[in-house]
Symmetry: C2
Subunit: 472 residues, 2 copies
């Protein structure tokens, strides 16, 4: 006899959890669809040739690989074994589990380029797998919900990402959030202000730690890496520019001019009307804000232009986003950005796109931490019919069928049991209504209905039960 | 540059396919929930100790196994390599992909026995993976939708399975179906009639082929396996008994009596009123029929008592079910049965239950073969706003926000493009309504709405557009 268990980092979701998770999925799906995104689903299994090399070395390590079926070891030699896992891997596994939704999406677009209509807007809500060390808020199997548009560089897409982020969080009741926005162009300009060249990644890695090690820590790291002291001073003046979204834009323009940063020119979409037009990143951030104003967006107190936002992924080229729920100890619940060449590695270069992702498991944990879930029953059943014996049980079947036909999920307690046990069942499952059909009730053509929450009972003619409960 | 592909036996589902599949899931989910089944989700990854040995030798072969993460080959020795895959497997893989929904369910019930309220009714709609040879209607990644009740032996559960099968198929418009029902007790009794002992499996394997090799083939096989000629004659008299559900029950009782089959006694739930009471299988099949009559079931022409139905799985002990869609070349789309000891191998013996499963991919293929899908758009978008330049595009944003707020999924074409291109986009995606917002319309405070299907156009004041489209 074995003691069953599940792999670490994975979870079972019982009825109440599934119902709560469905609520999150529904809010996200409705928002995505309201903005015209269409659903896509890709296989759990992808060829390792598609996955490998897309997530960096660390990502390749964290991919779950699937053993070839049949005699998987037939091509392995003693020499392979001496080299070890690295030599064995390509001989024993050619498939892996989906690691994110972005690479499969890029693969899908490249494979179906001939039949898709661009701009192509898709959303995808599926699990992904990473062989990460499990910890709070980090699982080995977890869900992502992505929405991407490819085939347009319109900044309306960026503005709509902010609208969708806010709509989902408001819809979930997570009102106290901060959407951080930045632009890779701004970071590039700051890098220019530093006079650096070829050491972009050193700088971004250091900036990314600002939250954790503070200004002193980042300064120390940059000095150690050979940046000049005055340069680092300039960096922090630019990075920590204060004020509203618009004030920061203005002050960064001034800062760039002072620091002698070369303009990288206006974009041909009206952004040249802006004061910041000569710096593409700032110009686009200004345009995104204008489009939000025109769209009636009201929550600018929750939208922060944060020049220190870097985001790890290398493929971003334009606006980048990250969302945190305030007052909950939890990483970001959403993030994304614009990329110019996501499908390039699949033979379809130059397709610009922008996308973002919600982490459903983190949203769930935030809702739980903030006690924002409403009470969720362990069953969809609204009504339990109790009975006294086989005869009264059988006599209840027409009523049961009528309740279901009226759209009221219902059960007849399946066994002949004490009434107390049947009520205990309803109570444990959170079934709100119980109908008692005893021999007396049946003889009189009546049914007793008990509302479990209040304990209220009412007796009704059998023929009126469905109508009464439909109105309940 | 790589040419991307997906593993054989797997599929991408584009927007229209996802929408059609969601329709199937919704019909099944609504039915399950209407009968009081609550959702459960289990991890994709299960420990191989949970999966192995549950599906027979062939099943073990078809399990997808996942390589341990990190240095997976570290414990593999040269000696292992000489023996081959069998010796390597336990050293390199300890997890596998879900093969069905029944074993994870049994594992879940055993793990959570202390907190679950019995009878426990759960449904589960998740993908499963099998390293089978892909062919028509058989994929390596496919969805199952299961509903099971454990902790009761009430035959109401069996009757409700028939009701749910019929409700789902009717709900999908697959009206021409046959639900076959049999009982392992009937097969046991027939076996007794043959005087056989210890060769049950020989018999069931042969019977299972009746569809394919016919009466002559089965006879030949049984004679070869040493069954007496007269015995096989009796077998076929019993197996091929003609008539309605009730007539077959009556004729089998008579046949059993003639053949001297020992009664296996009535069950204590009212079945003893039946003529067939002394044979448990026949008695239960009679009770299931009575419960269906009492529940108002009307489709008895689609319910066939088929004594030749055997079902492969060894764990069934009571009623068994199988559903075929008539006039479509396709295996069964649903099946199930009662088991008495599903959780036994996980340390929880004696929990009786009954369950069944829909194969979503086969239902999809049947609906497609019978042309029963309604036209499905490539997008949820109902309304596309077209425009002439950046200014008219921006002026459209308040209307766009209003349409979405009114629950009408809408898009503004994101780029400044020729009107023709924007209409082509709407047409390719199946967007039913297009709003034209040109400089003239905007100056006059008007919007032109085109209904794509009919080509009809109407011009409305901008302020009336949302109300008009809500009524559309």
């Amino acid at each position: 006899m074995q003691k069953p268990s599940i792999p670490k980092g994975t979870r079972d979701f019982g009825p109440a959890q599934v119902a709560r998770r469905q609520h999150i999925f529904n809010v996200i799906r409705r928002t995505f669809e309201s903005f015209g995104f269409a659903p896509l689903e890709t296989p759990t299994l992808e060829n390792l040739s598609v996955l490998t090399g897309k997530y960096g070395d660390e990502g390749d390590q964290l991919l779950f690989k699937v053993l070839n079926s049949g005699d998987f070891a037939k091509d392995v030699t003693g020499a392979d074994l001496e080299i070890g896992s690295k030599a064995l891997l390509p001989k024993v596994a050619e498939k892996g589990l989906r690691y994110d939704l972005t690479v499969p999406f890029a693969r899908y677009v490249a494979m179906n380029r001939g039949t898709l209509t661009f701009p192509f807007k898709r959303y995808q809500m599926q699990p992904v797998w990473r062989a990460d060390r499990p910890q709070r808020g980090r699982y080995r199997e977890f869900y992502q919900c992505d929405a991407d548009v490819v085939g347009t560089d319109s900044l309306l897409c960026e503005a709509e990402i902010v609208l969708m982020m806010a709509q989902v969080l408001n819809g979930l009741g997570l009102d106290d959030f901060t959407i951080k926005i930045n632009h890779r162009g701004v970071l590039r300009n700051i890098y220019q202000a530093l006079g650096g060249e070829g050491r972009e990644s050193d700088l971004f890695v250091a900036i990314d730690k600002l939250d954790k090690i503070g200004r002193d820590g980042v300064t120390k790291e940059l000095l150690e890496r050979g940046f000049a002291n005055a340069t680092v001073e300039t960096l922090f003046e630019l990075l920590t520019v204060a004020g509203s979204y618009e004030e920061k834009l203005e002050r960064l323009v001034a800062g760039f001019v002072t620091a002698g940063v070369e303009p990288d020119g206006p974009r041909p979409d009206g952004a040249d009307e802006e004061a910041a037009a000569s710096y593409r990143g700032l110009a686009e951030l200004a345009t995104v804000r204008d489009l939000l104003v025109a769209s009636g967006f009201k929550q600018f107190d929750r939208l922060e232009f944060d020049p220190t936002l870097a985001r790890g992924l290398s493929y971003y080229t334009g606006c980048i986003f990250e969302v945190k729920i305030n007052n909950v100890l939890m990483g970001s619940v959403s993030g994304g950005g614009r990329y110019d060449n996501l499908t390039g590695s699949f033979g379809l270069p130059g397709v610009s796109g922008v996308g973002f992702s919600f982490g459903v498991d983190r949203l769930y944990d935030c809702l739980e931490a903030l006690d924002l879930f409403t009470a969720t029953a362990e069953t969809p059943t609204r009504c339990l019919i109790t009975h006294f014996d086989a005869a009264s049980g059988r006599a209840a079947l027409p009523l049961l069928a009528q309740l279901r036909a009226a759209g009221i999920p219902s059960e007849l307690y399946p066994d002949v049991s004490k009434l107390q046990k049947q009520f205990k069942y309803a109570d444990a499952k959170g079934i709100p209504l119980v109908i008692v059909l005893g021999p007396e009730e049946l003889a009189a053509g009546l049914a007793k209905i008990k509302i479990m929450a209040s304990g209220t009972e009412r007796v009704l003619p059998l023929a009126e039960v469905v109508t009464a409960l439909t109105a309940e």
